[in-house]
Amino acid sequence: MPLDAIYGKLSDILRDQFDDDDIVARPELTAGDVDGWDSFAHIRLMLAVERSFGVSFSASQISSLRNVGDLANLIASKTAG
């Protein structure tokens, strides 16, 4: 899946999760930038991403993510080919 499509879909998921239509998924976005993105919300977000993209992450992959850019790259690596 191309990266811009991934970012588009991530924007939808983030808006849905945090009930905020102004969120735009961009590489440098982090949890600190979004209201309500705490550790529980993070797990929920990961589950929503898994479901939406049809991929699954390991605990270590989830805990190594630093920002949305890392997440998008991880999704890209799992949806490639």
Partner: protein
Amino acid sequence: MSGDELYASLAWLPKPPRDFRERCRALRDASGGRDVARLAAYALDETQLRRVTEVVDALRNTGRSLAPLTPFKLGIIGNATLEPLAAGLTASAARHGIDLACFTAAYGQLVQEALAPDSALNRFGADAVLIALDHRGLPLATAPGDGAEASRAVAASLAFIGSLRDGIRAHGNAVCILQTLAPPPEALFGSFDAVAAGTLRSQTAAFNAALAASVAGTPDVILDVAGLAETVGLANWHSPTQWNLAKLAFDARLLPLYCDHVARIVSALRGKSRRCLIVDLDNTVWGGVIGDDGLEGIVIGQGDATGEAYLEVQRAALGLRERGIVLAVSSKNDDRIARTVFAEHPDMLLRGEHFAVFQANWNDKATNVAAIAAELSLGLDAMVFLDDNPVERGLVRELLPDVAVPELPDDPALYARTLLAAGYFEAVAFSDEDRKRARFYDDNARRVALQGQAGDVETYLASLDMRIVFRPFDATGRARIAQLINKSNQFNLTTRRYTEADVAALEADPEVFTLQVRLIDRFGDNGTIGVVVCRPSSAHAWEIDTWLMSCRVLGRRVEHMVLREILHHARARGVERLIGRYLPTARNGLVRDHYRTLGFAPAGSGAAGETTWELDTAVEIAPAPMAVDRAG
């Protein structure tokens, strides 16, 4: 849809609207419980449940009433992360008519909360406490082959739960909701796990049986998590990753399903389970349309995959009746013809005496459902309405939002499963009285008079985004036109049969006016649902040789639009009068007054009951709420 998906996606509930989040926001400023319940009645995922719960919390915090929802306070203790349960439960409970306030114990605090008299839980004043323990929260120790140790572990686990129950009862006087254990799928030996003492599999089985036995004679109730997890698959239920990451007791994908099950129990504790199942007939309890296909043409019974699917629906309805659920019929049918199936078809399991009320007529279903509820002195919130037709389901949901109306999948083999998966009739006890209840209603399949119309059907029809497409007969439509001409019995004014070759001849005859009618709405394309043939009968008159329609689109004013179309073409060709004929048969009583209703004037009648009607083509017929496409 895979088997677990039906359950995980709450497939019996309609999909949420696209503007779901906007609707949630709008609720914050308005309204009370009824609007919340309507929003909660969709198949919401975890995030959407959370949105509705936030709305409820906001309304509650600003002192707004959630009436008519019934207030209920639920404490939740357990050995996993509990916050997601509370976030999902308040919304799920609203779906079941409950205004649920939750208290969740801090992580790992279950013993203190249950046993300390002044704990936050015991001060909360819970009506019930959900003890959400799984195998990881109990002293179940794997001791392969050691029967004595295994029994001790099970007994210790039960004693632990017993102490929690005692504490909660003594200090808070709340009902305990106890969970059976979902065995983890990881086997020690393999199949031998079921045999060997001391495996987790045999211990959970022993524990579950003992736990279920332990609630007898107490106010406490069971939430059968083991049954739920087995239904969706243990490997789907248990997610090692989510447990390790966030101490989620089961896969968060299944949270909406779990929460709905808890909400059913809470609702049942408040006596709000549903009590009456109203079934449609054609293509719901048998395959086909009795009025068109006849007793030999409908599909029901053994030996045919489709017939067995409908038999399963009948079996489910009978099973429910055995446990006290009242059965009723609401069907668009001729009463006499519909009843013949119950009286005469050898393969039917359902019989007339199984129904308290039997409504077969041509009125809208919302009005009939309301009449059934009134006759049985039950609230609309006690009713479940089962119908294969999405338009009928939509109408009843729209006009009578308190009635539960399950969505049905395309495959009738899944009808019974879907109905039962919805859990409308959840019970926390079962008595002899319940068993007899269905019979209290004097099962004489009586017909009840309709009160005034249940609501604004016109507005609902307008919301269907109907588009009607008119085309003259053509080669593409020929086979379907011939099929309708030879099959339609009910909405058929003259019941004249033509072969496909006849249809082709009509198509080519410049003197003859033909029309095939297609109807599309927001639920999809209904296909060709009407056929009209007019022939010149004198210089400036057309006689309507054939006018038939599918009963599936009855009550949507399609006939008015068809007449408008005929008039349009008639005027364009200088025709001044339309002549309609009604030729009665055993099946077409439905359209006896068709021409009268449309404003035709009587112009004669014959000995066999046939009637003739006339209409001046200058007349204007009020349009129905649908767009018109005219092709050809």
